[in-house]
Subunit: 385 residues, 2 copies
């Protein structure tokens, strides 16, 4: 086990009625002016908005609404939110939504306390923020695991960069699987695939040796696969939804990453694809993963063979490389089985997208068995078409 | 997944040189008078005492030593420690040792802030403490996982009760696997079996259904088994020691218990055996587990069969009960293989011990497949002889 430091700042309230049971106590810890942040308004049709605003009202809070946070939240939206926080003297930010809403609020929480531009500060000056407007998260769509860490993915439309920034961690997160019941199945599956991707990107990071984090990771991956299959047969299965919701958090709360240097190369490629196309994150990952893995598996055949055996239940073939490839094929088959796209064309990404620009702007990681070049990333992107 | 609330208050610094790298920064957060608590003095012969006292001295701390904490820490020792904290105006308690030292300090941290008797308050009035002298933990022997939660096991010699109390959580825990290198192998294995026991006692708790916590638990159990075997061949294997150290923490930091009602019946029986004999905790568990499981497995054959398949790699037999029994036999064989005792006689527990009194004073849990009676516990204890 490599050296590590681990702390876990977010208190999690998980289960049916968690908002009614715990939100009032949490709200009492913060000031009176609360920014209620959400996305496109689905929480208004499914009753969550009414429930949360009633709790805020009963707690005597002044509510400032900040809505319309988009699925790939933009830096412009962050600035708009930070301006609102300053203008209204917001004491506490309550993010109600999925990873996009939570990510946007994490960076708003930091930007509102800064005189400088957080993008420039983090990416150019390499400093991370230390002061934040406190925030909480109520998760209505799971997959990103954003509710249990301080990372956030923001799209800078002007610069055509979608990348990770560090912001606030939610002081508390409310995870009620009932809240996900009205989410369209396509979005549920896309989120669950994002969870599987987080687990894979960690699993394929270094080191390869005997490592409890990898053993636990395999359990998370198998659980996600099993519960996606259950949910596709029984979309209202509460238990499967709750398992996926907790797996989403577990994949990104740091436990799987202990002692590991993570890779996240598929995410880096997808982020730049997203910056150029505004595509769905989980779908982009589903297309990229098998193509990326077929490109690199010979450099890490032992680990890919272990993935085949322990995640997909594949018996050893004649060679380690054959076993490894069978695991990647099982992943690709699973992607088809659960109705996710296997090409950019299926995602509606046309020939007009400048894949060369996507490849050249992709951050290259070195945590996996093979460090790619921009040329190889372009090859991978072309194979995804 | 059942409803749950989870927070994780302890910051973990794990790895080589963790004390030198992180203890000074942590100490700076607390007052000047530090109680350095430890056990029988092994830290004086292996150099840890010198290293830690030098760090304390460099930090300008006034050090109050509190030594001689025994392997089953007594309530009298807690009172002695709490008295010393009050007398010297201790600002911070630094526990250096294994679970016994850390447990003792957790309750000292609470008792020092209370006017009343913590034993009476927790066990009779059913109130738990809310104020503590802050404390940190430096782990030198792993197994109990005490460094990452607020539970403590204390023996009240006068009342002949060994039981769990709730005390402080360490604000930080330093886990340096190098610190375990001089621990006698017998004690290392006993601690590792305690970890396996914690995992099993959680795994056999309810519910039995599809549950990520159980999937992760199986990974922890397999990892403990693999790394005990590695260490018996290569006692100085740093990686195996580090894996066992992190597995110990993982088994008791709450992650495996999420959504589960834990059982801990073997621990309850062992605690009372310990109250009457002052026996080694891990050894007591090793003797009790297989006997207890053979007693109850027919009431939970499906779960025991899953344990056989997924932890011990046993193929399905003709019936679920046969598979279940094969798993328990594999556990019993493993206990012999690693040189742990299989009877009370091997532990040096003689015929003169009043097993009836042990049985009658054992707390009966209801988290497992079968709720025992005091008569059944006596049967189990007699079978252990």
């Amino acid at each position: 086990m490599n050296n590590f430091t681990f702390s876990y700042p977010t208190k999690v309230y998980f289960g049916k009625n968690a908002a009614a049971d715990y939100l009032p106590t949490e709200l009492a810890k913060y000031g009176d002016t609360v920014m209620l942040a959400f996305g496109g308004g689905s929480i208004k049709s499914n009753g969550i908005y009414d429930e949360i605003t009633a709790i805020l009202k009963n707690a005597g809070k002044t509510v400032i609404e900040f809505s319309g946070i988009m699925s790939n939240p933009t830096y412009a939206k962050v600035q708009q939110g930070a301006g609102l926080v300053r203008e209204k003297g917001v004491d506490f930010i309550l993010a109600v939504g999925g990873g996009s809403v939570i990510d946007c609020c994490k960076i708003i929480s930091a930007q509102a306390k800064l005189d400088c531009d957080i993008w420039d500060m983090e990416l150019n000056q390499r400093k991370i923020p230390t002061e934040f407007i406190p925030m909480g998260a109520i998760v209505t769509v799971s997959g990103t695991g954003s509710e249990m860490n301080s990372g956030a993915v923001i799209t800078n439309e002007e610069k055509k960069i979608k990348c990770g920034l560090v912001g606030a961690s939610a002081s508390f997160a409310i995870l009620d699987p009932e809240y996900t019941m009205t989410v369209p199945m396509k979005q549920v599956i896309s989120g669950a695939f994002d969870t599987l991707s987080h687990a894979m990107e960690t699993y394929f990071g270094k080191p390869d040796s005997n490592n409890l984090s990898d053993d636990i990771n395999e359990a998370v991956m198998r659980s996600v696969i099993v519960n996606i299959r259950i949910l596709l047969k029984e979309p209202q299965d509460y238990n499967a939804r709750s398992e996926l919701m907790w797996a989403s958090a577990m994949a990104e709360n740091g436990i799987l990453k202990i002692g590991k240097i993570t890779d996240f190369q598929a995410h880096q490629i997808e982020h730049q694809l997203g910056a150029y196309t505004d595509c769905n994150h989980g779908q982009g990952l589903a297309v990229i993963h098998p193509v990326l893995y077929r490109h690199i598996y010979k450099s890490g055949a032992a680990r890919f063979a272990r993935f085949a055996r322990n995640v997909w239940g594949i018996s050893d073939k004649n060679t380690e490389e054959e076993t490894a490839l069978a695991g990647i094929n099982a992943l690709a088959d699973f992607i088809k089985e659960i109705g996710m796209p296997t090409t950019f064309a299926e995602m509606g990404i046309g020939e007009n997208v400048d894949l060369k620009a996507v490849a050249q702007s992709t951050n290259i990681t070195a945590g996996c068995c093979k460090k790619l070049t921009a040329e190889e990333i372009l090859e991978i992107l072309n194979e995804c078409k």
